[in-house]
């Protein structure tokens, strides 16, 4: 072992007199691990089993997702349920996902960016549509969380429901078109239908529509659809 270390340190010792060589070797050292972890998941292995029931976000849901991202909801709410009994029981209280109440890769194929979060200060929202399906409850909760959940530490979001928070369908369509460039299969009817879905709606309505989309497509599936 000592010989091996001596051998290596003697070689490496020679590199530190040539800045260019050193820089190239250091780059190679980091690229090996980076390439191994980034390239195979994309090109070699089938990393995601598609779920045909999962559909892209419609215009209103996408507008809601933009708000979710803007307000930084992912700083306190995760969207990834791990395959543990206690997590599945907690985040699938109605048993809408059978014994598969944990998150699967196929549920996230249209998520640009992913919003899994890394800190679960509030509950997980990946399957929120099956946990709290009431639009009215969400509206009251977002305007004043403590009114519906005593002692909650969530901040209030009253500005999402002000008249000034009216959505603009043209802006949403431009967002959809950007997403279509990175592979989200939006069609012309999605763009033309945006006006009807979005116009007159408030940011808060969109955010709730997004929450009602979370987990909807994979709930109560026949196993053959997977």
């Amino acid at each position: 072992m000592d010989k091996l270390l001596n051998w290596f340190s003697e070689i490496a010792d020679r590199w530190d007199t040539n800045a260019i060589k050193f820089t190239i070797y250091a780059t190679i050292a980091v690229i090996i691990g980076g390439a191994f972890e980034l390239i195979p998941p994309f090109f070699l292995a089938q990393s995601v089993i598609p779920i045909s029931a999962v559909k892209p976000y419609n215009a209103l849901e996408l507008a809601g997702r933009d708000i979710y991202q803007r307000e930084g909801c992912n700083n306190c709410h995760t969207q990834m349920i791990r395959p543990f009994k206690w997590e599945v029981d907690r985040f699938d209280p109605s048993g809408a996902y059978g014994k598969d109440g944990y998150s699967k890769g196929g549920e996230y194929v249209y998520d640009h960016p992913f919003l899994w979060g890394s800190k679960r200060t509030g509950p997980d929202l990946a399957h929120e549509s099956q946990i709290k399906p009431s639009v009215d409850w969400h509206k009251r909760h977002l305007i004043n969380p403590q009114a519906t959940v005593n002692n909650s530490i969530m901040p209030p979001y009253p500005w999402l429901f002000l008249e000034s928070a009216k959505l603009n369908s043209e802006e949403i369509v431009s967002h959809m078109k950007a997403l279509s460039k990175v592979g989200v299969p939006y069609t012309d009817s999605d763009y033309s239908g945006a006006k009807e879905l979005v116009d007159g709606k408030l940011e808060g309505d969109a955010l709730i529509a997004y929450l009602m989309k979370l987990g909807k497509d994979t709930a109560n599936l026949e196993s053959s659809v997977r």
Binding site: F8, V30, G33, N74, N75, M80, D89, G117, S118, A178
Partner: protein
């Protein structure tokens, strides 16, 4: 000293001042959001002051404002001295300083306005990312050019660590920030779902590695031996732990995604390399400790040295805790909890914060050519900071393990023991209050340091004399 005038110290002073400004700003926001988690009224019901927008401001200001300023200040300072030449171009240095600070100001404006790419530590929208790439290229050309032109045959260890950081960070930054713009301030990641998650944590983990670890090891390898006037303990150890550290670190990202839908083999690779990482990390810690013990009886009289000691201790502690948390069974209880926040802060406050402070205590009197205004205040900073960090991480351990245990607790009939979410957050309130107080103590320490520096700077050019800390030498 005739040689001293050759060096460009203006740029070092510039980045020291930005480190002071962004250090205070980032930690102030850290304290605010820590109290928001106990008293939600502090969100003020306004969009610009709500937790979800201020938390990215805190992390970005701390990483890209404070830590990067310290890295640039020390990089400019050390590279000129270790290469025995002035920076290749003063003009490029100055452009770098201006554009860099402009970026952080724009970040401080756009993040509270809600412009965010939605990925941790990569929140800044695409025009700001482009600005970062511009000044980064300027800096890198200047830095490497200086190293290539150097008048010293060998590149000292410190330079290795800086170079490795400076080549890896742009790689991570560019790959993770590839987006498709939808408008001037809105974009979407080109990756989706699990691929985006994988790339994000490859980036996120290595931002910790190549922004908060390797440059600071370089910093330690320069300022520790200079401060005590004695050589590093082992050159061979530094070679071995340098190459193994940079090779292994880059693999460890997937430990942030255990039990997620990313491929199983990828998670396992992340775990294996995270555990392997323990050894090279401790190689650096040991080299630091063994260097420092050459002058151990001076630790009690010198606040800067005390800070270095505590910084290296926290480095050793958090690089042990990291591999531990990456083991699947430990991750099962620690993931998504306050434990992770505690782990990050033992690294950021303990290692990065204190090592940065010790480098600043070394630099400010020398660069403003004046005696440090008060050694007692530096000593006070050390103690309140150390106690603050301890209170912070101990309360986060307690909070995180409580949280993780309550999530998983089952009754004998198999039902959840705590189905009500708020009954869990209520339990954590006291720990989180203790965390906020610990963070405030650290923040007070930083404010005292800044006051000390301002008073030192006021006595500019009154003459500086270094204390010799070698054993047996009377100071």
């Amino acid at each position: 000293m005739a040689t001293k005038t050759e060096y460009d110290d203006f740029i070092v002073r510039g980045f020291i001042i930005s480190a002071m400004v962004w250090g205070v700003a980032s930690m102030l926001f850290g304290v605010i959001i820590a109290f928001q988690m106990v008293y939600p009224q502090l969100n003020l019901g306004l969009p610009y002051t709500s937790f979800g927008r201020l938390r990215p401001l805190h992390t970005n200001a701390a990483i890209f404002g404070f830590a990067l300023s310290v890295i640039f200040a020390t990089a400019y300072h050390t590279v000129q001295r270790l290469c025995r030449i002035r920076m290749m171009s003063d003009g490029l240095s100055r452009i770098h300083l201006v554009l860099y600070n402009l970026t952080i100001v724009l970040a401080a404006i756009t993040l509270p306005l809600g412009y965010s790419q939605g990925k941790e530590y990569a929140e800044l929208e695409w025009p700001l990312d482009l600005l970062i790439v511009i000044w980064y290229v300027i800096f890198f050309i200047n830095y490497l050019g200086t190293v290539i032109k150097r008048e010293e045959k060998q590149m000292y260890v410190a330079i290795w660590f800086y170079i490795a950081s400076f080549v890896t960070v742009p790689l991570l930054f560019i790959v993770n920030n590839l987006v498709i713009p939808a408008s001037l301030m809105k974009s979407y990641s080109i990756y989706s779902g699990i691929f985006d998650a994988n790339i994000q944590w490859w980036y996120g983990h290595n931002a910790v590695a190549f922004v908060l670890t390797t440059p600071f090891l370089g910093l330690m390898y320069y300022y520790l031996p200079k401060h005590i006037n004695l050589p590093i303990y082992s050159h061979r150890l530094s070679i071995i732990h340098f190459w193994s550290l940079i090779f292994i670190y880059i693999w460890a990202g997937p430990h942030h995604l255990l039990y997620s839908p990313i491929p199983e083999w990828l998670q396992t690779a992340g775990v294996v390399f995270s555990i392997m990482l323990w050894m090279p990390s401790w190689g650096g810690m040991l080299n630091g400790f063994l260097t420092l013990t050459q002058t151990r009886d001076k630790i009690k009289v010198d606040a800067t040295l005390k800070m270095m000691l505590v910084a290296i201790t926290f480095y050793g502690m958090s690089t042990f805790e990291g591999p531990l948390l990456s083991i699947r069974a430990v991750s099962a209880i620690g993931h998504n909890t306050d434990w992770i926040i505690g782990h990050v802060h033992s690294g950021t406050l303990g290692w990065v914060g204190f090592l940065s402070a010790s480098a600043l205590y070394y630099l400010v009197p020398r660069l403003w050519n004046s005696k440090l205004y008060s050694e007692n205040l530096a000593n006070f900073h050390f103690w309140i900071g150390t106690l603050g960090i301890l209170l912070y991480i101990v309360s986060m351990w307690a909070s995180g393990i409580t949280e993780g245990s309550m999530w998983r607790a089952l009754n004998t009939d198999g039902t959840l023991m705590y189905p009500d979410w708020v009954s869990i957050t209520e339990e954590l309130k006291l720990f989180r209050l203790a965390r906020a107080i610990g963070g405030s103590m650290f923040f007070i320490g930083i404010c005292v340091m800044i006051f000390n520096f301002i008073m030192t700077m006021k006595n500019k050019d009154s003459g500086f004399e270094a204390t010799d800390l070698r054993v047996g030498v009377r100071g």
